[in-house]
Symmetry: C3
Subunit: 387 residues, 3 copies
C-alpha cells in the first residue's frame, strides 16, 4: 500500500471515529420533545432561551404559548424584544422595524414601517417551534418536520392524570453528555455520601455484578430505557492495606428502599433518549424523579428536574407542595445535585484540553456510559449540528 492510500485510510479512520451520532451530538439530539420552561414563566412579553444552539422566543397569546426563532429575518433583532402591536391576534412584531409575524405558522403578515402594501408581506417567514403545555411545563419540539406525539418522548407516568409534577431548572456549565453519562449507580454512594440530606442514610460499598440492560417496558413508563441491574449490594468491603470501606458511622442508620417499585418502576436509575434520567424514590420514598439535560451549546445546558408525586387527598397534596418548596427543591434537587455539576465541569474541561470527547472505559461500572452511548448511537433521531 502506498503513502497516499495510508493517509486516506488514516483520514477515513478518524472520520469514522468522529462520525457517530453521539460524537456529533455536541449540542444535543434534535427531533425530540424537550421541557423548556414553566407555563407561568411565559407571559405577553416574550422570554428568550437558547436550546440546542437555537435562540428561541417564548411568548403567550391567551392560553397558548408559542415559540419562534429569536432572530428577526430582517436585521437579526431579537424577537424577544418584540411587541404585541395587535392585541387579540396571535402575532408578534419586531421592535426594530415592525415586521409582524403570525405566531401559528411564522408568516410575515405586516411590515409596519413600510405600510400595508409592503411587498415583504407573505414572502418572508420566521421559524416556529411546535409547543405543548402539560403538567405546568412548556414542551418544545426541537426539530424540523412534523413532531411525534408528545407521549412518545415524555414519560407516561409523568403525564398521568393523577400525577402531581413539580419542576425546577438551572443553566449549568458543561457539555450535557457528561451529565448523561454520569447517572450510574456507581457514583452515588461516593459523590453524594456527604451531602447534608444523606447524613443519616446507611450507604453500601458497591454494586455486585453490575449490568445495564436495555428494556422496552418497565411499569408503563414508556420504552426504551437503559436500566441498571445488579446482583445485589455489598454493604462493606475490605481493602487490603487500607481498611474497611465505608466506615461504620453510628449516625448512619436509615435504610434505603432499594428494590421497592413505584408504579411498576423498580430500578433505581434508568436513562433514555434524548438525555433523560429517571430515579425512583427521589426526592422522597414513593416519588419518581426525572431530569433532562437540555443542551444550550457545547458547554452549557439546562438542567431540568421534575419530580412526580401521587398524593392521596387534597391535604397530602398541599403537604407535598410545601415540602417541595421548603426542602426537597432547595436541598435535594439543589445542593445535592450541585455535586454532579462539578464533575460535569471537570470532564468538559478535560475534553477541551484533549480536543475531543472521550469516555475512557477502564473499570467495570463504565459499562453504563458505554451502553448508553451505544444505545444513543443506534436509536437517536438526529444530532443538533446536522442541520
Amino acid at each position: 500500500m502506498d503513502d497516499a492510500a495510508d493517509k486516506a485510510n488514516g483520514a477515513d479512520g478518524a472520520q469514522a471515529l468522529a462520525s457517530t451520532p453521539y460524537d456529533r451530538a455536541v449540542a444535543g439530539f434534535k427531533n425530540y420533545w424537550y421541557p423548556a420552561l414553566g407555563e407561568r414563566e411565559v407571559g405577553r412579553h416574550p422570554k428568550r432561551m437558547i436550546l440546542l444552539g437555537e435562540p428561541i422566543a417564548f411568548v403567550r397569546r391567551g392560553r397558548k404559548v408559542y415559540a419562534v426563532q429569536d432572530e428577526c429575518p430582517h436585521r437579526g433583532a431579537r424577537m424577544s424584544l418584540g411587541k404585541d402591536e395587535f392585541p387579540g391576534t396571535d402575532t408578534l412584531a419586531c421592535r426594530f422595524h415592525g415586521w409582524t409575524f403570525d405566531l401559528r405558522n411564522g408568516a410575515c403578515v405586516a411590515a409596519l414601517t413600510d405600510g400595508p402594501d409592503s411587498p415583504v408581506v407573505g414572502k418572508v417567514r420566521i421559524r416556529t417551534f411546535p409547543t405543548e403545555q402539560r403538567k405546568g411545563i412548556v414542551w418544545v419540539w426541537m426539530g424540523r418536520g412534523a413532531p411525534v406525539p408528545l407521549e412518545e418522548d415524555i414519560p407516561k407516568l409523568l403525564l398521568r392524570e393523577d400525577t402531581l409534577v413539580k419542576h425546577r431548572r438551572r443553566v449549568v456549565y458543561g457539555n450535557w453528555r457528561y451529565h448523561a453519562e454520569s447517572g450510574d449507580g456507581g457514583h452515588f454512594q461516593m459523590l453524594h455520601r456527604d451531602s447534608l440530606v444523606q447524613l443519616t442514610n446507611r450507604f453500601f460499598a458497591h454494586l455486585k455484578d453490575y449490568a445495564p440492560v436495555l428494556t422496552d417496558e418497565e411499569g408503563d413508563d414508556g420504552p426504551p430505557y437503559l436500566v441498571e441491574r445488579t446482583g445485589g449490594l455489598a454493604r462493606q468491603a475490605a481493602y487490603p492495606g487500607l481498611g474497611e470501606w465505608p466506615p461504620n458511622r453510628p449516625w448512619r442508620f436509615a435504610s434505603q428502599p432499594y428494590g421497592r417499585s413505584v408504579h411498576g418502576v423498580s430500578t433505581i436509575a434508568a436513562v433514555r433518549l434524548p438525555g433523560l434520567l429517571r430515579i425512583n424514590h427521589f426526592p422522597v420514598v414513593g416519588a419518581l424523579y426525572y431530569e433532562w439535560y437540555v443542551p444550550i451549546r457545547d458547554d452549557a445546558y439546562v438542567y431540568f428536574q421534575a419530580s412526580c408525586h401521587w398524593p392521596r387527598n387534597p391535604l397530602s397534596r398541599l403537604i407535598t407542595r410545601l415540602k417541595w418548596h421548603a426542602y426537597w427543591g432547595p436541598m435535594k434537587m439543589g445542593r445535592f445535585n450541585d455535586q454532579d455539576k462539578a464533575m460535569v465541569r471537570d470532564s468538559t474541561d478535560l475534553a477541551k484540553r484533549r480536543g475531543h470527547h472521550s469516555p475512557t472505559p477502564l473499570y467495570r461500572p463504565d459499562r453504563y456510559p458505554l451502553d448508553w452511548i451505544a444505545y444513543a448511537n443506534e436509536r437517536a433521531r438526529g444530532a443538533a449540528r446536522e442541520g
Copy 2:
C-alpha cells in the same frame, strides 16, 4: 473551463465580495477627523483611548492637547502611564525606562536611564496624531499623511461661532456599521415610540415614497449628506385582519415639527462619512443633533453625541445648559438612544454567527442602508485595516 479555473474564479468572486471599502471598514474609515473626548477630560496626566484599533494617549501641555500612540516603541509600555519629567516642555516620558518624546512631532529627545549621550536619541520616533480643539471637543485626525482642514469633516453649523455645543460619549458593544445603517426614519416610530420622552408625541404610521438622496448642499452644513426624502407621512394605516396601526391614544397629542428647517436643514435624518448622523429638532425643537460612531474595534465603538443650540441671550444659554444636564442628556441622549444599542448588538451577534456582515435588502426602507453603503464605497478615503 477546467476545475482550476473554476476554483480561481470562485476565489476571485469571494475576494471581490469581501473587498469593498465598506466590507474592510470593520474598524472604521481612516483619514478622517473624529471627535475623541471633551477638552476638560484631558489634563497633565495622559488619558488612554482606543480609536480605529489604535491605542492613543491624550495629554495636555498648557492649552494644547496632544495625541500619541499609547505604546512606547521600546517595550510597549503605555505612554498613558508616562510622566511629565520636564515641566514646561511639550514632552512625555515613558514610565518604564524614561524614553522621552517630543509631543509635537514624536521624536525621542532623551532616554533617561541611559544618560544624555544615549545613542537612541533622534533615532526613534513615536506616532503622533494631529488634534484640534473646537467647541470644547478634542478632534483627532485618524490618518497617516497631512490632515484635511477640520472644516471638511466637521459640520459647519456645529463650528459656527454662535453655536452652543453640548456633547456626551459612551462606549457601546457592537460594530459601528450597524448603528450607521440604522438611522433610517423607518425605525423611529417603531423602536422609539414607547420611550418615556416620547410619551405624549403623536406618531405616524410610515413614510410614503421613501427615497434617500445624496445632496451636496443643505443649509450650509457641508456636503455630502445622504438625506431622506419622502412623499409625506401616513398618519395611520389599516392592516387587513390585524387592525389600525398605530392605535389612537388620547395622551399622544403633541405634534412634531416635520418639515420645519433649522438653519436651512429641513430633512429629519441625514448621514455622511465617516459615520455621522444628523437629526433636526432633537433633543428639542430648533436644535440640531449629530452623532458619530467612532470605531474602537470590530465589536465596540464610541457613541459620540453632540447637540447644537442657538440661545438668544445669556439667560437662554444658561437654561439650555441646565435642561441639557438635567433632562435632555440623560433622558433623550441616554435612555432614548439606549434602545438603538440593543439593535446594534443583535445585528452584530447575527454577523458573528454568520461569519460576515450582510445587510439584507428585503423591503423598501432598506434603500437607506443600501444607499449609505454605496455612498461610502464610492467616496470613503480609506478603511482602518488597510494600513
Copy 3:
C-alpha cells in the same frame, strides 16, 4: 536558487527563529524546582494550583505535603475535590467514583465503587510531582525524571540554617518572561521613583558603563547568576533643551547602600534560571530578596516573593516579623512591585498584538534582557511545552 528552495529556506529561517528554548518557554522552563505555596496553606483537604500549565493538587498527610496531577485518569474529575477515605494512609480518593491513589508513587490502590477485586487496581497511575518542604515553603519539581538536589536550584543563602525567610505570592496577568527581562537596574529609578516607600530616597540619574556579567560565584549563593556591573552612578545629568534630571528635591535625602555586600552578595540585581531575581538590601538594608516568576500559562504567572533576614537574637527576630507583616510585605513587596505588573501587562499585550515575543534591543541597558535570554538559551534544562 529556485522558488521552492527559497521558500524552504524562508520556512527554515522562521523555524530557527522560533525554536530557541526561550521562545518555546512560553509556559516556563521545566525540570526545575519551583516554590509553589506556603506549608501552612496545605492541609488534609487538597489545594488546586496550575503551574507550568499543569493542574496540580497539593495535599497534606501528616507532616508531608504531596503533589499529584489534579485530574483523575478516569473521567478527569479534579483530585483536589477528592477525599481522605482511609485516614492514616498516604492516599487520596477521587470524589467521583472513588478511585484511590497512593500519594507516594501515584499507583491506583483501590476503586471503591467497583469493590476490592476491581481489575483497575495496579493498572492505572496518576502523575506525582516530587516535593520538598524548606523554610516554610513547599517546593515542587516540575519535571518528568528524577529531580536534581534542591540545593542546585534554590539559593544557598535562603536555605542556610540561620536565615529567616518570609514569603508572599500573587497571581499576576502577563507572560512570566517580561517580568524576568525587566529586572535591570535601569528601570529602577524611573519606574519606582514615585513609589511611596521611596519618598525620601535620593535617586541617581543613570548607570555608567552598564555591563551584565555571568558569574559562577558571588558569596556562596550558588551559580550561575547574571549580575549587573557598572562603572558607577551618575547622580544627575543635563539634557540639552530639557533640563537637569532628576530634579533636586529637599525631601529626597536618604542615601542607598549601593556597593555594600550582604553575606558576600554585593551586586544590586542578579537573575538566574529558571526565572529568579535576586536584589540586595531589599526590603531593608542587610536583607536579600528573591522573586520567582512561576508560570501558570501563556499570560499568567505566580509572582512568588521571598525575603531573607538574619536577626541576631529572638527580639530582633520578632521585630523583623512584625515589620514584615505590617510594612515591608504590603508596602514594599505589594505596592512597590505592583508598578512592575503594569509594565509586564503592556509588554504581554504588545506581544499578543504582534503575534510573537520580541525584545527589541534599542539602547544600551537592553544588554540586560539580551544577555539573560542568551544565558537561558544556553543553559536551560527544558521548556514546559516540550513534553
